[in-house]
Amino acid sequence: MSELADTAAPRPPLCPFCGFVCSNLGLERTEGGFRVQGVICPAGRAGFEFPPGDDQALVDGAPVAQADAIDRAAAILGAARLPVFGGLGADVDGLRAVVDLADRTGGVVDHAASDGLMRNTRVVQDTGWIVTTLTEVRNRADLILLVGRDFLPRFPQFLDRCAPTVGRLAADGPPAIFRLGPPADTVQDRVATVACPADGLVSAVAALHLAAQGRAMPPVAGVDPAALAALASRLAAAHYAVIGWHAGDFADPWAALLVETIADLLRQLTLTTRAAGLPFGGASNLIGANQVTTWQAGLPLRLSFATGVPVHDPILFSAARLLAAGEADALFWVAALEDTVPPPGVPTIVLGRPGGQAGRRATVFLPVGTPGLDYPGQVFRMDGVVALGLDAQRPSALPDAASVVRAIASRLVLAGARA
């Protein structure tokens, strides 16, 4: 027996645009694009149904041969004192190539959606946590508590995939589902809301932690004490409670503290029962970008190679901060998945989807295909464990991000000490 993967028969498509990596989708080919059938979030629909655009390389807005655009990109990077590699919306191999290029050019690496990830990473580094993954939640959770504003509209397959009413290994019924957070516009039948203003979430979760210790719960402004006490009892009684959050939704200054407070609560519950966290997020292969950076450099996002060695700092090496502060002098932006727009201010090289917003103001625009639509690739799910192999869904002449990045690297002439 050799390999098990069938490459002959087409597999059902996977959605590569966020960390939930939905399946159960149908793709209907249309003039130049796709129409999605099935339950899908707005970002996924936008990604699949992206209108066709001109796959023409541009320099300063004018059409050029791809080789000339690559040379210009290499020249910009070669002359830069501190290039920033941002966006990072690409498959694993594209990210490999970007991190290598950043290592060569002494650049900084950051992802367009990393704000929430940094909050989570700091908690992993400072205290650690107890977490779980989607299949575990589906089959084992008897209570799910979502913390923060309602993010389920962005994960519309969550209830079916992770809290089904049938199809669980656990013999008991489906889990009870609560959300602690500001009231939502639309209410999900199965989700009971414990209303809590956004700036009261730290206090409310800390109160749940006190209750889990058997201590009195102090009042939390804007939260019904009886509802919070009932939630505390349910958490204590659950055999496998799962607390989910989307750290990208949290607001500073309390965002990181809220993640840490959730981690404290999970540790406390685990002294007597089982409980685990489920961090939501992972837009445009954010988790893949973090994984590739971590294994190649030994340190996670956000990361700098500017001193010749990898240095990690979640605040200093924010792409947005470096650009706003005028510390960076070139931007290399990859948007092969979601059409994210680069921050303005410096000469910018964009690898993006033809016709997208990402390349509108770029100094150099290089069109690339999208993994899972135009070429095969790998992306990570939000739990950081499962990576999935994506198939091409159409014949495409567009290059993959990795090939373009490597072509730029091969044309690079470095100035000064790094030469």
């Binding site: 027996m1 050799s2 390999e3 098990l4 993967a5 069938d6 597999r11 059902p12 399946s23 694993v92 191999d93 490999r96 290592d103 990473t121 992993v124 580094q125 400072d126 205290t127 650690g128 946590w129 107890i130 977490v131 779980t132 993954t133 989607l134 299949t135 575990e136 589906r138 089959n139 084992r140 992770c162 199809g167 290994l169 055999h239 496998y240 029962t273 089982r274 994984q291 590739v292 971590t294 294994w295 190649q296 450099a297 030994g298 340190l299 996670p300 190679f305 010749g308 060695v309 990898p310 240095v311 990690h312 790998q378 990570f380 950081g384 464990v385 499962v386 990576a387 999935l388 192999g389």
Partner: protein, 553 residues
């Protein structure tokens, strides 16, 4: 193609019965060839006189890639701030001492003369990630053992009447789907039980839901692995890791294998050889364990020797890692339940020579090395990074080869631990030939690598030449004079001179695919969050990576 001649070295090639003879080696097209005879012309010539020449080192148990290793890197920011490697002409930049980045891992192993390393705890759910990381480890051939035995599909088949054919088909399918070269079980039933809030699990305790015992799970899986026809026997991380008195569990495990007539590999045996004697109720059980291993030809072991200093423990054994969280240094730890498949736990740890327990762990590992008689059935490991980083191997080799050095070290550890070990009374010193068995020939044999771990004609030209230094074996093994990978000179005087790329080694199990997929399809449909057809890692996902190469053993 031209022939390369390596002349004048003392060759230690135990697989071919060569011990220290001075002879020339000839390389062509990445392989070792027979002496081409007089008149042959050589494209290159390396003078290895004064060197001990061995096959490239093979580390059969080292956590170098995959989910938990990458979490370790994220957590160990201080360690990665202290140990940073700049990019240079041959290397990518990197960082980390106990959980180094992928490129740094490859370079450092090569600079110690190693040419193949095996990641021993790949979760099926994480296989695609593990292989993506391995693809970024240069210099080495590499492979993975896939975890089974805490996954609910296996437990369900076993509790449903345990058709051995179906178990074997499932194991074979999993090996193929995850591109593994072996199968490992971690704390049989224990990772699963921790998800049901069990905090310990003895060898004959029943797990929740399925009512199976670790004994039953272990023996059934060992038989299923054998039935697939792969060479490496079931690789076992026993129950009760780190628990004083766990020698009883280890002995019961070895006896269960004998009763079932199956071979086992017991990994990081040091962590499973503890008694309860003495005031502190923690003692060495190495002598009794070694005696049983010596009498059990179906058992191979690696040690998981500890090294004093900072490291991070990374394990699939969530039950044991959760227990160990109170010893975390620095004070951060992480546990994860994974995909009804397994789990992982990360606990940073600092082994102190002033600690009675740590010092005795150090002594227990060395006692096992010295009391287990057959070098073909014992392999040199620190269970990197759990006992300490692999870069300590030259130091450990000196401890094994030099009893006066060993006794000097013994004087520096916690005196109560020194008094509690028989180590000072053991005179055995390993020979260079035995080191070549421990670190090359033995691992190749237990993994079924026919063309690695030896220097006969037809073998891969993976070769390490160490300048002989009887006075300081550590210095000798820290800095090989030459290392060749697939016939190319890649290291000189302990420094990398060229980056090359090895193969991913995978097994070729026998199983009935159609039969098992009939059962897997509805199971995936009902319980999994990944479609069945997206689970297997395709060959071209490995070969499409830059420098990707796949080799079936």
């Amino acid at each position: 193609m031209t022939v390369t001649r390596l002349s004048g070295g003392r060759v230690f090639d135990p697989a071919n019965g060569v011990e220290g003879d001075i002879r020339d080696l000839f390389l062509r097209d990445g392989l070792i060839i027979a002496d081409p005879g007089p008149g042959a012309r050589f494209g290159a010539h390396f003078d290895l006189s004064g060197c001990a020449v061995m096959a490239g080192g093979i580390d059969m148990h080292s956590h170098i890639a995959g989910g938990k290793v990458n979490i370790a890197r994220m957590m160990m920011v201080d360690d990665h701030r202290r140990y940073r490697d700049p990019r240079d002409r041959h290397r990518r930049s990197g960082s980390g001492h106990c959980s180094p980045s992928t490129f740094a891992t490859g370079y450092r192993y090569a600079e110690l003369g190693y040419t193949a390393v095996f990641e021993p705890a790949m979760l099926g759910a994480n296989a695609r990630h593990a292989h993506a990381e391995l693809a970024d480890i240069p210099m080495l051939d590499r492979g993975c053992y896939v975890l089974l035995g805490n996954d609910e599909h296996f437990l369900e088949i076993l509790s449903d009447g345990a058709d051995p054919r179906r178990l074997a088909d499932y194991v074979g399918w999993t090996i193929a789907a995850t591109q593994a070269v072996g199968v490992k079980i971690v704390n049989p039933g224990g990772i699963f039980s921790f998800k049901h809030n069990r905090r310990s699990l003895g060898f004959d305790d029943e797990i929740p839901v399925y009512g199976l015992t670790p004994r039953r799970i272990l023996t059934a899986l060992a038989e299923a692995v054998r039935a697939t026809g792969i060479v490496h026997p079931l690789h076992v991380h026993c129950n009760d890791l780190g628990v004083p008195g766990n020698r009883d569990t280890t002995i019961a495990t070895i006896r269960a294998a004998a009763d079932a007539g199956v071979p086992l590999h017991l990994t990081h045996l040091q962590f499973h050889s503890y008694g309860t004697d003495g005031d502190r109720h923690f003692s060495s059980a190495a002598a009794s364990i070694a005696e049983l291993v010596n009498a059990s030809p179906n058992i191979t072991v690696d040690i998981g020797q500890i090294v004093f200093g900072q490291t991070i423990t990374a394990s699939g054994d969530t039950m044991s890692q959760y227990r160990g969280r109170i010893h975390a240094h620095p004070k951060t730890w992480l546990c994860m339940d994974i995909e009804c498949d397994a789990g992982c736990g990360l606990v940073p740890f600092r082994y102190r020579d002033t600690s009675f327990v740590n010092a005795l762990q150090w002594a227990i590992g060395l006692e096992l090395f010295l009391l287990i008689e057959d070098p073909w059935r014992i392999f040199l490991t620190t269970d990197h990074p759990n006992g300490g980083p692999f870069t300590a191997y030259p130091h450990l080799i000196r401890l094994l080869m030099d009893r006066s050095f060993r006794r000097d070290m013994l004087k520096t550890i916690n005196p109560d631990a020194a008094a509690a070990t028989v180590l000072g009374g053991i005179g055995r010193e390993y020979s260079l030939q035995e080191i070549a068995i421990l670190t090359r020939a033995g691992p190749a044999r237990v993994l079924g690598l026919k063309d690695r771990g030896h220097l006969g004609a037809g073998a891969r030209a993976d070769i390490a030449a160490y300048r002989d230094d009887a006075a300081d074996r550590q210095a000798m093994f820290e800095r090989p004079a030459h290392v060749f990978k697939d016939g190319r000179a890649v290291v000189r005087d302990g420094r990398l001179i060229e980056t090359v790329w090895g193969s991913t080694l995978v097994a070729s199990p026998a199983f009935d695919r159609a039969a098992i997929e009939r059962h897997l399809a509805p199971w995936f449909e009902r319980y999994a969050t990944v479609p069945l057809r997206h689970y297997p890692v395709a060959d071209d996902e490995i070969t499409r990576a830059p420098h990707g190469r796949l080799e079936r053993v």
